[in-house]
Subunit: 254 residues, 4 copies
């Protein structure tokens, strides 16, 4: 496996993780062991009940990169400010850019997102925007200089998987940067499908943190992402309406 | 992982393989290395262009159990005869029972299948019938003494995956014996889904043998079956129509 | 529209109705006005709280044919007996044959169904069997002399629509007799889809009787069945992954 | 049926039609008879091989409103100019606003669309924008003063129907103006589904003009839209995983 490279950095896997919703702090390390994530995204505005500082300590000790995100920001201005604070606090210019248009649906606001992405790129950030699965918008984001695009499969925390595989394939076809499936993943089959549609990586958060057994689900997703990367590259058989026997009728064994 | 037990025999994995359609004999061993199958099913009536004898030699040398199948049989009588020949030739009383009702669709014939299953059980065979995804029929087969049931996800060789997840879940709920998803698997996400629906194992044949890269697909399926077993047991999050943020809005990091 | 003919009888529409679950007897006539059903199926063993006798009176007065059914029968013997009672009581040799294998799922039992169908055909009945969406079983039923086959789209009363469109298309392709989609219909789009898959008619029961507004749903289904018949015959455009503009770019209007 | 009102105008039906791709001019009037459209959308930049002038004459003679569209426009500026030309040429201030971001996919460009919508509203147009099925973008368009929003079910001319029913429901929930499903309709079941998801009307173009029998498909779609309006209002039964018998087991008829 050649590995995923974003903005010149080679990542160690194709699974991104959000751990903010884990029910107990003691689950963090076993989940990281099981998931082997390329990075962990951390909210600058939303934090879990376990002290965020300790999460950062754990990640630093293990050498797992932190991807600060701007979850909860409702305007470009707020997102840019949050990214600046993150850069200062966490000493990274990477940012997962979220600008939501609605606090209930948590769906991205295309207009503010484009504006924020442009501003952050011009300020030297490595920007990974959370976006609708819209290939035209994704191409605009890539053209602005975003390092990857992160289309949603379904609303955050919904566990609905990939609502429109067609749209994710269209995003993959539209851009030259890596596509990371963000939001919607509920279980392992969703993650495999995302990879088979051509995504370069998958982000999971609630799927792990709210599973009954977060460690088992973390392990499942690690395997799933790897399985999907392999099957995507293996050249699957075409779908056929009719049956086709596995082997020609020729003779008898024995 | 506690492992799958059928008829008192503990199998080494949850992936069953059919290798009859491999384009080159030289692919057999690398595919077996990649798939680590619990067993390999071999047609008594249909054979691949590579000499079947050598396949059996390879399996024996590697200690991989052989599951003879009755593919191509159109009646109970023919299937029972084929199973008897297999038992004699291969020294195993296990048989994957196929009685198809139509040479084009290769779909099972419920009536002949029930008749053949009853006859084979009474003759001491360990019977794993290929069946429609019909819970009533599956329960009949289990009640007759079949050691597992093998419902189809989609027609043989179609690569359509699991056409009706609801039906597979109903079969799993209807029987006490292991359910092995047979036919329809096209790629890794199909295999994960089958496991998440509650199947105990998955059989793949064309998905591997006709993939552009059979070895990569074999490895993908091995990981997929393991991922699906884990995610099925991990207690996935419920599907929700609305969004739900990954963590509460509480404060700021840094 | 040339009209549907079953067993030599030209039916007045392509919508079959079950009215047994209507919440109030007074809804029966408005529902019949709205649905304009080809016939109404009446259970010989299960009856609604309104006196069944009065239902039969209404149907007779309106000239709507009655199709007695054997709902609730668990064996071929019981179904045949019920059909004989129906023939005597209702003066019709038509019967919708139901032999269920499980009182919870109400799914057909293939083995008992085949046996009952054969017995009823030989006794001169016009048999319309409720069956799994299994083309091999459907062909067996047709070959036995059944006048139509009635595959299920989804379990009775589930409102899940057509779980596997592929299977319904396969049943349509497998038999020469009319195919009537039975069970699963939840709303109008399900009925249109069934017709577009090639069914000759659709049966609705709970979809109407348990809707909040049974009369509006009855009217919707009447229109839906007609819409689906038309669109099936109209030669729909192929599905294409890519866009295609509606008209060539040539000039400007005005 | 109370009827659809957009911008204070009561429309005569809930089916919008595009006729630009009809294979023969002689089909126009039979298609209009069959479809009974609320209005016909006419491209200002793309025209069919039949002289557009004659289409306008037919529509005027029949009293069918014309909805000029800006298909083919790639920028807000171009779309506004085209709308101005349409207003002058056709004496209507209604415009179906299309600003596509890509000539291959014909998908809307969110940024240019918002800009054009704002300009057109401020110039006194009644604006119906063709948009992605994005509830945040749809609400922005409604807040700008658009009279309706027209989300796509699938790419123009694809016939893929509604790729993500969830997204269309979200758009319906997000705005107070009518939602008209635009693009993707391939056949009647797609149109019923769109209405059942809560759309107020449906636009069809290629589905009719490229069908083998455009007149039959036009009639099917007219019935489908009506069926879907009724079933949406009728309060469908809930989807249930398990079966439920149509009526209680109580006694016997006859």
């Amino acid at each position: 496996m050649s590995g995923l490279v974003i903005a010149g950095i080679r990542l160690s896997s194709r699974l991104f993780l959000g751990t903010g919703g884990l029910p107990r702090p003691s689950l963090l390390e076993p989940v990281l062991d099981a998931a082997e994530p390329a990075l962990v995204t951390v909210s600058m505005r939303r934090t879990s009940s376990d002290a965020p500082g300790s999460v950062l300590d754990v990640l630093e000790r293990r050498g797992i990169p932190v991807l600060p995100n701007t979850a909860g920001c409702l305007s470009a201005r707020e997102a840019v400010l949050t990214a600046e604070l993150a850069r200062e606090a966490l000493q990274t210019d990477w940012v997962k850019l979220e600008v939501v248009g609605d606090e209930a649906s948590l769906l991205p606001d295309a207009v503010e997102l484009i504006e924020a992405a442009g501003m952050l790129v011009s300020r030297g950030f490595t920007v990974l925007p959370y976006t609708t699965a819209d290939p035209v918008l994704a191409r605009r984001l890539a053209d602005l200089g975003c390092a990857a695009v992160m289309p949603l499969g379904a609303p955050i925390g919904s566990g609905l998987g990939v609502l429109s595989p067609h749209d994710i394939e269209a995003v993959v076809a539209a851009v030259d940067v890596p596509v990371v499936l963000d939001a919607g993943i509920g279980t392992a089959s969703d993650a495999v499908l995302a990879m088979e549609l051509g995504c370069s990586a998958v982000l999971a958060a609630s799927a792990v943190t709210r599973a009954e057994d977060p460690v088992a689900m973390a392990r499942a997703l690690r395997l799933a992402v790897h399985a999907g990367e392999l099957s995507h590259g293996a050249g699957r058989i075409p779908r056929r309406a009719a049956a086709r026997s596995a082997s020609p009728l020729e003779g008898r064994v024995g």
